[in-house]
C-alpha cells in the first residue's frame, strides 16, 4: 500500500523542501520542519513521508524514522481534520483537565490519539491528552490545531468539539482564525500565508488574555513602576 513518494508529494512540496534545506548551515537541520511539511500534506508522517525526507536530505529511512518516532507532534496514523489536545498535566488536571479529557473521550468515543470520524474528512477529530501547554494561568486549556482555547469547562469543551464536527470554526481565545490540522502543520514547517493581509490577520489574532496582563494592569492601577532609568550621561 506504500506509494512512491513522488506520487504523494508534488513539485510544490519538493520546492518547499529545498527551501527548508537552504535555511540552515547544515541541511539535516531541516529535518524537523520537513517532517512538519510532509504532515501538512497527509495529516500524518507516513512511510512515504519518511522516504521523502530521507531522499531530500540524503539520509537513510532508518535515520528519519528514528527522529520521527521521538517527537510527540509527529503522528504515525492519519489525523482528523482537527487535532484536539487536552492538557492533563497536574495543574490543568486539578483544575478540570482530567474531567474534560474523560468527557471528550466518552463523547467522541475515542481514546488517546484516536480519531472520531474518517481521518481527513470534514468534521473528523483526533483527540489526545497533552503535557503542559505553557498556559497554566489560563487552566484548564485545550488546543485545537495548536491554537489556544483557554479556561475550558466540561460543557464548553463538548460544545467546542460539537461545533468542530458540524464544520464550524469557533474562534480561539488566543491564536489565529481556526483552519485545520494540515494548515497548522504547514505553518509549523515555516510557511506562512503569502498574501500579506491574510498573514497580518493571522498574526493579529488575539493574545492578550486578561490573565497575561494582570500584573501589568495591577501595577498601572496602583501606580507601581520599575525604578526610572538614569538620564543619558549621568550613569556611573
Amino acid at each position: 500500500m506504500t506509494q512512491a513518494p513522488e506520487t504523494v508529494f508534488g513539485d510544490d512540496i519538493v520546492a518547499k523542501a529545498q527551501e527548508l534545506k537552504g535555511r540552515y548551515p547544515e541541511s539535516r537541520s531541516a529535518l524537523l520542519p520537513m517532517l512538519h511539511l510532509v504532515q501538512s500534506v497527509q495529516g500524518y508522517v507516513s512511510r512515504e513521508g519518511i522516504a521523502f525526507c530521507a531522499e531530500q536530505l540524503g539520509l537513510t529511512e532508518a535515520e528519519v524514522s528514528a527522529v520521527a518516532t521521538f517527537y510527540t507532534m509527529y503522528k504515525r496514523r492519519p489525523c482528523g481534520e482537527h487535532l484536539v489536545s487536552v492538557c492533563t498535566n497536574t495543574l490543568c488536571a486539578a483544575m478540570g483537565g482530567d474531567a474534560i479529557y474523560k468527557k471528550l473521550s466518552e463523547h467522541l468515543g475515542v481514546g488517546h490519539e484516536e480519531t472520531a470520524g474518517e481521518p481527513g474528512e470534514p468534521g473528523s477529530i483526533t483527540l489526545e491528552h497533552a503535557e503542559c501547554l505553557a498556559a497554566c494561568d489560563l487552566a484548564p486549556v485545550i488546543q485545537v490545531n495548536y491554537e489556544y482555547f483557554d479556561k475550558q469547562t466540561v460543557e464548553s469543551a463538548v460544545e467546542l468539539v460539537d461545533k468542530l464536527r458540524n464544520g464550524e470554526r469557533p474562534k480561539p481565545t488566543r491564536g489565529a482564525e481556526l483552519t485545520d490540522f494540515k494548515t497548522a502543520e504547514l505553518q509549523l514547517a515555516g510557511f506562512f500565508p503569502e498574501d500579506e493581509e491574510r498573514f497580518a490577520a493571522d498574526v493579529d489574532g488575539p493574545s492578550a488574555a486578561e490573565e497575561t496582563l494582570r500584573g501589568a494592569a495591577l501595577a498601572q492601577e496602583r501606580g507601581w513602576i520599575a525604578p526610572p532609568m538614569p538620564e543619558e550621561g549621568s550613569r556611573g
Partner: protein, 432 residues
Amino acid sequence: MADTASKTDPLTPVLTKRWLSPKSWRLATYEQLEGYTAIRKALRMTPEEIVELVKEAGLRGRGGAGFPAGVKWSFMPQNEDKPHYLVINADEGEPGTCKDVPLMMADPHSLIEGCIIASYAMRAHRCFIYVRGEALHCIRRLNSAIREAYAAGYLGKNILDSGFDLDITVHAGAGAYICGEETALLDSLEGRRGQPRLKPPFPAAAGLYAKPTTVNNVETIATVPYIINGGADWFRSMGTEKSPGPKIYSISGHVERPGQYEAPLGTTLRQLLEMAGGMKDGIPLKFWTPGGSSTPLLTAAHLDVPLDFEGAAEAGSMLGTTAVMVFNETVSVPWAVMKWTKFYEHESCGKCTPCREGTYWLAQILERLVEGRGTEEDIETMLDVCDNILGRSFCALGDGAVSPIQSGIKYFRDEFVALCEANKRELVGASA
C-alpha cells in the same frame, strides 16, 4: 526580602510593561515605546564592553538554572575562526511555566532586539530561536516580527550601518520536553532525536554543528536591551544582591487572580498571593512549587521565603522558572506526584538507564499506590529509586523527576501512608 520590599514598588513592570499597548507585537508600537534604542547604543560599544556590562548587572539565566548570563557569554571564544551561534531556548515546557509564551506573543521585538545585542557581543552572525511546536501563535508572531525587522534594517547585512550582520531563523520543535535541556535542544536543532550530550565539551566550545554556541532562555535575552539602556546599577536597584533584576512570576492554580506578575526577585509567595487576590474561594493553601514541577514542593510554612535563587535553595527547593503553581487543600499530594511522575516517564528521552528505568518504575508504583494497592514498603522503594536517579542521570530531567516525589513524601508522608493503610487491613484479612 525586606530590602527588596522597601526599595522598590511591589511590581516592577519592565518586560511586561509594553504588553498593555494595543498591537504590542508590531514594530510600530515597539519603536514608539523605546524599542530598538538599545541596539543603537550596543552597536557603538565593543563586544567585550557588553559582556562586561551584563556581568556587572548580575543577570542570571531565567530558564531555570540561574547561571550568570555574562559569564556564560564570556566562555565564547574571542576569535572568529569558526562561525559562532546564538540559540534561544523557547521550548517552554516545564510544567507550570507560562512566561515565555506570553512574552513572545506580546513583545517578540524585545526578544529580537536582545538577540541582536547578544549576537553582537558573542560575535555570532546566525541566531536560531527554537520554539516549542505547540506555541504556534508565538511562531507566527516571531516570524512576522523578524520580517518587519529585516525590512527596517535591524536584521540582515550591515545593521544600522554598523558593519554587523545577523540572520535569525525561527525553528519549530515537535513536542519533546527534553529539548528544553540545552544540549538536547542542539541535537534536535541539528535534525536528530533530542537527547542530551555529555558535557564537557560545553556548547561554547562545541555546540551547534560542533561550533561555539551559547544557548539562552527567552526571558534572559529579552532583558538585555533594558540593561543596555538602564545600566547595571539601575538593574541592580531591583531584586537582591545575588539575584538582581525583575522577574516574571507566573501564578497559576487555586488563586483568585492567576496571571503574570513581574516583580523584583526576592518577592515572597505571601506578597504574590496578595496581588493575586488570595486563595481561590478562601480554601487554604496546601502545597506549591516555586518554579515548576522540577523544583521541590513547598508548603504554607514557606510563605515568607524570598523567591530568589538563594532563598528558594535555602528553603530546600529551587527558583527554577518562577512558575508558581498553587494547590489548595482539596488536592491529594500522592495523586499530584503520580501525575507529574507520569509526565517525566513520558518525557524521559531514554538515553540513560537511571532516568529511563527509574521514571518507568516510579510511575508504576505511584499509580498502584494511588489506586490503593500500595504498601508502606513502596514508599521506601520509591525513595531508594529516587536516590539512584538523583545525581546519577545524564541530565537534569532525572533530577527534576525525583523532586516532587522526595518533597511530597517529606512534607506529606502521612498521605502516602494513609493510601497504604487501607491496603494493609486487606492484606491481613481484616476485610474478610
